[in-house]
């Protein structure tokens, strides 16, 4: 019985591996031939983008920084690489890929959430599957992906698993039916939100919240990489329509402490009344709408102009125009 079982299982596994590699090859081709859409954004940042100024962050980044305003005001190309739902480990992976291909931005704006390090906001290991398609192509991010589970490197030997669930979005990112490509190019990564929030300010109780050491380590790693590569880094916590009980926020306090230690500018907008007093600037408690984003970006531009380090690098010719 054992012999028969192993022979049949063996045949099945060989066929499965052949199909996994064969079908996987075509899906990989489709995935990396995208020229717009949600997943293309990651490929673009990891493998192609070379703006003078790059913004890294999650959804708050993508909705709060009007790239075109920055480009027009500072006369340097800017791309907003904020990615909805993907947090600091994703940003660390982005930076590693950028540096691997010798792309050094003049300025890196790192937008972090006001609860970025809090353990209960999300599970660190749950947000890493977006990196699967890049696991084989980018050895520099493998240790980040492997944080997901000790078995991940074995699972990722399957090409189909590496491209799990991405087939339909990849197809829509390869076929431009709604002229999205042009619109995305125009906005240079910025994703405007139009709705207006009609709720109240959210009060957050952060006392007793545990912080995730993996995410704090990722932040320190980003600082280390930017320092080693002479990149001007600014850490920003952009506005949100919420207040913290007793003004206590363990994430911003940690960001402040680490930034000060490393002499990195840290701009915290979380208690800024310019925004807290204007509900119309928000789409929901976490995100600003386009009106808010324009006001906020103007403020960020003013502060960037005042940065001595940026004035120095900005005096050199711009690297490349945004592709």
């Amino acid at each position: 019985m054992l012999k028969e079982l192993f022979v049949k299982l063996g045949i099945f596994l060989i066929l499965l591996i052949i199909l996994d590699k064969g079908i996987g090859y075509f899906i990989e081709k489709i995935y990396f031939s995208q020229d717009h859409g949600y997943y293309y954004r990651t490929t673009y940042v990891f493998e192609k983008a070379t703006p003078d100024i790059i913004i890294l962050g999650a959804s708050k980044a993508s909705h709060h920084y009007v790239s075109k305003m920055i480009t027009d005001s500072l006369k340097h190309s800017c791309f907003n690489a904020g990615e909805d739902g993907y947090f600091i480990l994703y940003q660390e992976a982005s930076l590693r890929c950028m540096l691997k291909r010798k792309y050094i931005p003049k300025l890196l704006l790192l937008d972090l959430n006001d609860d970025e390090f809090e353990k209960n906001t999300y599970k660190t290991e749950d947000r890493l599957s977006i990196l699967f398609p890049y696991y084989q192509r980018h050895p520099e991010i493998r240790d980040i992906v492997e944080l997901k589970s000790p078995f991940e490197k074995y699972k990722l030997m399957s090409t189909l698993y590496s491209f799990n669930t991405v087939l339909l979005p990849a197809l829509s990112g390869s076929i431009d039916l709604n002229n999205r490509k042009e619109s995305e190019k125009k906005y240079a990564g910025y994703v405007p939100l139009t709705e207006k929030w009609n709720g109240t300010i959210k009060t957050i109780e952060s006392h007793g919240q545990l912080l995730d050491s993996v995410r704090i380590k990722a932040f320190e790693e980003i600082i280390k990489l930017t320092r080693e590569n002479n990149i001007n880094l600014v850490v920003i916590v952009s506005p949100a329509y919420k207040v913290y009980k007793g003004g206590y926020n363990p994430t911003t306090e940690t960001l402040q402490r680490i930034s000060e230690k490393n002499q990195i500018p840290f701009w915290n907008y979380i208690n800024d009344t310019t925004y807290l007093n204007n509900r119309n600037y928000f789409k929901d408690v976490r995100h600003m709408n386009d009106d808010g984003a324009q006001i906020f970006t103007a403020n960020v531009i003013t502060r960037i102009k005042a940065l001595k380090a940026f004035q120095y690098v900005a005096s050199k010719p711009a690297l490349q125009d945004i592709k």
Partner: protein, 483 residues
């Protein structure tokens, strides 16, 4: 350690390999050791609870059998039942009942005595119910009832008996296995054969497909909506209520398929739990096809005894038995009014179906069979979907809010990413097609058992590829693990 985790696969390969090498007479010792390890994997101390149930039921069973008089037999029997039910109630329902008493006391103070509602629940226990406690106690109770009725001999080998209650493929979420089906398999010492192992592997593969491609993928969409119902339109809530039936079915039957499959690989058969329930043409028929091991348990030890005891009431006996049975069945799922309402709704519709049996039979003669069957399937599905709103909600108020929301057909359908809905719909289509094939060909898992080897292998490969391509690999627990 859930079935679709790498940790479980490693554990199972070790267990199955050694089980194959060991002489048949010794296998139960190995399986018992593996079951104890499996149970203790998360919370080691909790093993004391099943050990207590095993001891009470094992020795109690022997005493019931040996008892010289009917009265002694009754005393042993009742003692064992009280200890088993008491254990279940203590771990699962103490907080529910004490909270109810406290709420009642506070109501009296506030509304009748006009004083401050200041009674607090000092009996509140903050421990989790041990894994599979509902399943273990129900199997133990069923075993004791059968011994008392004289249908079952008390098991003399405590090792066999402990393995029966702790057997790891079924310990957490069933099936509610019967002793007369399970225990003789140790003494029969069935030889592991290729057909059994092959059938087991096919069943595991199919269970994985249902769990990873349908249930866990639907769960992403359903959780997004049902965890934030106020933000969503009636269309979205209605779609989620429909999807939840598929999620529940794919999750639970997927788990059962895997449990039965793993068990086959160990040379032991477990009873089936589902028989294409979504094709049921009435709710009565549905409950003969859904969670069969539990519904037959309730039929044998609850419904029938009540209906027989009250037979003088005529058809009211059936109605009374239906209501009581389904309310208890609902409550078995958890200490929450939502489960009681869920059970009540089942009892209500079964009563209606019972009372309208003749009218419906006459109507059927006037309506073409296909139309009648289709309407029956749609009605059964919709009714079950409606009752599951209570099953899924955290409170009756939350369930009523969802129902109110569904009635307001305003706003748009929430679909953040098309593939969030398209992938599980594709999986549901395949599952329904396979079930339709099974029904047509009367063979299990459609193309998995096709005579032509190319068709058969193509089916295995297609399902495996779909799992890799569309499955959710970091999904959550099985829904029924909480019960």
């Amino acid at each position: 350690m859930i079935f679709n985790s790498i940790a479980f696969i490693i554990f199972f390969v070790i267990v199955a390999s050694l089980n194959y090498i060991l002489p048949a007479a010794l296998r139960w010792i190995w399986i018992l050791a593996a079951s104890i390890f499996f149970y203790m994997y998360v919370a080691p101390l909790y093993i004391l609870v099943p050990i207590f149930i095993i001891a009470v039921t094992y020795f109690g069973g022997i005493q019931i059998e040996k008892a010289a008089s009917a009265s002694k037999r009754r005393i042993f029997y009742l003692t064992c039942i009280i200890l088993n039910v008491g254990t279940l109630v203590f771990f699962k329902y103490t907080n529910f009942f004490t909270n109810m008493l406290v709420d009642f006391a506070n109501y009296i103070r506030q509304n009748l005595l006009h004083v401050e509602a200041s009674v607090h629940n000092i009996f509140l226990i903050s421990i989790f119910a041990p894994l599979g406690i509902s399943y273990i106690t129900f199997q133990a109770i069923g075993y004791l009832i059968e011994i008392k009725r004289g249908n079952q001999l008390a098991e003399k080998n405590i090792g066999y008996f402990a393995t029966y209650l702790l057997y790891f493929p079924k310990v957490i979420a069933g099936p509610v296995e019967r002793a007369h089906h399970f225990l003789p398999q140790f003494t029969l010492q069935k030889k592991l054969d290729f057909a059994g192992v092959s059938a087991g592997l096919k069943q595991i593969l199919w269970g994985l497909f249902k769990k990873l491609v349908i249930a866990d993928r639907l769960s992403i969409y359903i959780s997004t909506v049902f965890d934030n119902t106020a933000m969503h339109s009636g269309y979205t809530l209605a779609l989620c209520a429909i999807f939840y039936v598929f999620q529940m079915y794919a999750d639970f039957s997927g788990y059962t398929d895997m449990a039965l499959g793993f068990s086959k690989l160990l040379g032991l058969d477990l009873m089936p739990n589902f028989n294409r329930p979504l094709a049921a043409k009435s709710v009565t028929e549905f409950w003969r096809k859904w969670h069969i091991s539990l519904s037959t348990w309730f039929g044998d030890y609850f419904y029938n005894p009540i209906a027989i005891a009250k037979r003088d009431w005529g058809q009211w006996a059936v109605i009374y038995a239906s209501f009581i049975t389904f309310i208890v069945l609902g409550f078995w799922h958890g200490a929450n009014w939502t489960f009681i309402v869920f059970g009540f709704l089942q009892g209500a519709i079964l009563t209606i179906e019972f009372l309208t049996k003749k009218i419906r039979k006459n109507l059927r003669k006037k309506i073409p069979g296909a139309v009648n069957n289709t309407l029956g399937v749609i009605f059964t599905f919709c009714y079950f979907a409606f009752s599951l709103i209570f099953f899924r909600a955290n409170s009756v108020t939350a369930a009523l809010d969802i129902i109110k929301g569904i009635c307001h057909f305003k706003g748009s359908l929430f679909i953040p990413e098309q593939y969030m809905v398209l992938y599980p719909l594709f999986g549901i289509g395949i599952m329904l097609f396979v079930e339709w094939m099974e029904n047509r060909s009367h063979s299990a898992w459609g193309y998995f058992s096709h005579q032509n080897i190319i068709v058969r292998y193509s089916a295995y490969l297609a399902v495996s590829i779909l799992i890799l391509l569309l499955g959710v690999f970091d999904g959550g627990q099985f829904i029924y693990f909480q019960f």
